[in-house]
């Protein structure tokens, strides 16, 4: 439990924008005025229109603790209020409001140990990539299994970084010659990929509500301990 700290909106300047996929971009901010974040936490972003209308959304932090910049990865939802601007129009030098770091439940620190089982649906990969990056940098001795479910190769975030180190399943469109998994995550797929329950892996599941429910139930059915399964759902609407 961290010490009580007021959560206040602060102005943040976009330092860099990187394209991740045709629908997603990573925004890097100069270090915000806070003591640092834990892997898995998120920030709230607030945009204010010229007429005063405000819209607020939560985005997971992608950059691991201890790095100079705060990075979030935003996937564009076409009917969203916030994500089309963040993932399409925002440029380096633009300013917005953010507050954080937020959340104390869906977090991992090296002291928690492993093995880790990280299960991502779509852009639910973002906080899990933060955890995985932190593990690689701070506790490489902790074993980790990262399973990513994406619609197709064009939707896969951080593809170069994941190559060879993550298990992928492409649910709708597979690259030519693909011999890997090509279906939604189910009990059989988890049984093949996950460490056995006797190893008591710490499971982190993040994705759309349907993904999280199916995966969490399958983990319990396979004998994984409910208390070791942490879930985070992100909204398919609102954006």
């Amino acid at each position: 439990m961290s010490a009580p700290a007021p959560l206040r909106w602060q102005t943040a300047r976009i330092a860099e924008v990187r394209e991740e996929t045709p629908r997603a971009r990573t925004l890097a901010f100069d270090r915000p005025a806070w003591p640092g974040h834990r892997a898995g936490q998120h920030v709230d972003v607030r945009l204010t229109a010229e007429d005063g209308y405000r819209a607020q959304r939560s985005y997971s932090i992608a950059s691991p603790p201890g790095t100079p910049r705060l990075e979030i990865t935003v996937e564009r939802l076409d009917d969203g209020e916030v994500s089309p601007w963040l993932a399409g129009e925002a440029r380096a030098g633009d300013e917005l409001e953010l507050r954080g770091p937020i959340g104390g439940y869906f977090v991992w620190e090296p002291a928690k140990g492993g093995p880790l089982l990280l299960l991502a649906g779509g852009s639910g990969l973002v906080p899990l990539m933060c955890i995985e990056r932190h593990r690689r940098a701070a506790a490489p001795e902790v074993a980790s299994t990262l399973l990513v479910s994406a619609r197709g190769p064009a939707d896969l975030l951080y593809d170069a970084e994941l190559e060879g180190s993550a298990v992928l399943t492409y649910t709708r469109e597979q690259p030519p010659g693909w011999t890997g998994y090509a279906r939604r995550v189910d009990r059989e797929l988890l049984a093949a990929v996950a460490p056995p329950p006797e190893q008591r892996p710490r499971c982190y599941v993040c994705g759309p509500t349907s993904f999280v429910e199916v995966v969490a139930e399958a983990l319990v059915a396979l004998g994984h301990h409910r208390a070791l399964i942490k879930t985070e759902r992100f909204g398919a609407t609102g954006g």
Binding site: M1, L7, H42, S58, G104, Y105, K230, A236, T237
Partner: protein
């Protein structure tokens, strides 16, 4: 399945802004069915201008939070108890 349903993680910012501590890792006890679990696991519906947290066990409203132009209201009537696990 209701894809607009989130979980208590989505309420963490608004709750911390009110209470100045991270609340969602606290364990709540539902006053309706007695289910015990972190508030982060509560079924959460973000409906402007506020949000509602419901018990995953019995669907009772645990927490309701409403932003008004000049103040924020929070009802905790569905929580029998909050526990801070040290």
């Amino acid at each position: 399945m209701d894809e607009t349903m989130l979980d208590g993680n989505a309420a963490a910012g608004d709750l911390q802004a009110l209470f100045a501590v991270e609340v969602t890792q606290m364990v709540g006890v539902c006053d309706g069915c007695g289910r015990t679990g972190p508030l982060a696991e509560a079924h959460t519906f973000v409906l402007a201008p506020g949000l509602t947290l419901r018990c995953p066990g019995c669907d009772a409203v645990l927490v309701r939070l409403v932003h008004l132009p000049d103040r924020t209201l929070v009802e905790l009537s569905g929580l029998r108890r909050l526990e801070l696990v040290s």
